[in-house]
Symmetry: C2
Subunit: 191 residues, 2 copies
């Protein structure tokens, strides 16, 4: 039985990532977002949505660049803290002992402790109401060397437990239920 529920943002689980911005040699900041996702495959494009009041909103509006740093179990506490506190009050890199690392394309710093950093260039800023959506193209990817399977060339992100965010809580990924296409193979095996 279904009942009507208050209209709201109920799409979960979502990724939760640390977005770094600014200039590695100047003002920089980190903001945590769950309003993020992939919007296009070719070219690879992502978005982040930020409230205008966020310190990083002003920075990214000016520089038109940011970096999506995948968060992991080890980074969960820092991820939460960077989402609660403001860059107006704290140097988040220093407070969380995170290492700003030079990007390949953008001036914004990568977070060294994250195993995967997606450098993004903003293509459009879309005002939606409470949030502005920064639509961006991924222009470079930096991956932890030890997580690249040398035989397949694949990045083994699932080995590092990327964080998921669901209804106000952070989770590790749990049991694997199948790979894309498994339902068809399963059916064929039954025949």
């Amino acid at each position: 039985m279904k009942e009507e529920f208050k209209v709201g943002t109920m799409l979960y689980p979502l990724p939760v990532v640390m977005v770094s911005c600014g200039d590695i040699n100047g003002e920089k900041n980190i903001v945590t977002v769950a309003w993020t996702g992939t919007i296009n495959t070719e070219p690879p494009m992502c978005y982040i949505s930020l409230r205008k009041s966020r310190h990083s909103h002003r920075i990214i509006s000016e520089t038109k660049e940011f970096v999506i740093n995948i968060a992991t179990e080890q980074l969960a506490c820092a991820t939460d803290w960077c989402g609660v506190k403001s860059g107006r009050d704290f140097d988040k890199f220093r407070e969380m002992r995170l290492t700003p690392v030079e990007g390949r394309v953008v001036k914004a710093p990568l977070i060294g402790e994250s195993p995967l950093n997606l450098e993004c260039k903003v293509k459009e800023i879309k005002e939606l109401g409470s949030h502005d959506m920064f639509i961006a193209e991924v222009v470079a990817v930096n991956a932890e060397s030890t997580l690249i399977d040398k035989s397949t060339g694949q990045f083994q992100l699932n080995h590092v437990h990327p964080l998921a965010y669901s209804h106000g809580k952070y989770y590790k990924l749990g049991e694997k239920l199948g790979s894309f296409g498994y339902s068809v193979n399963k059916k064929m095996q039954k025949k």
Copy 2:
């Protein structure tokens, strides 16, 4: 040590949901998407990105409506199957024994077996390259009655193991690492 990796869509984990569309009394279809997320809080807005070749792309372009049906562990196999097969070849509701249920606002059917259905109206279709992004407002939410905590009024989605998608694989959520704000409380406790 970081190395340059091929540029691609590497933002994970993502939600994976069954999107239903069409008309409950006419042509209807289900398509599975992971290129989805929340883009705005007030008003609540979501997006889905679809290739132009998808059968549902044509339907949603015409009706300007769709429903996001949260997928769960029990629905994992159907979720995968609806992502692999085309509505041109199959009646996916019938093949997967899913129940089309009337929505409150939209003509598109809800999937009865999903515990949470977000009815969405398309505001804009944005061509990005391989995919078109359907930017939509959530206009009604339907929730399984037994999952609404009567004392708090909260919907207990985490009790049903919503699916996450990461690097081509489906996962249940695993260990809970903390709630939003836990890093600050932890620090305060230490003092």
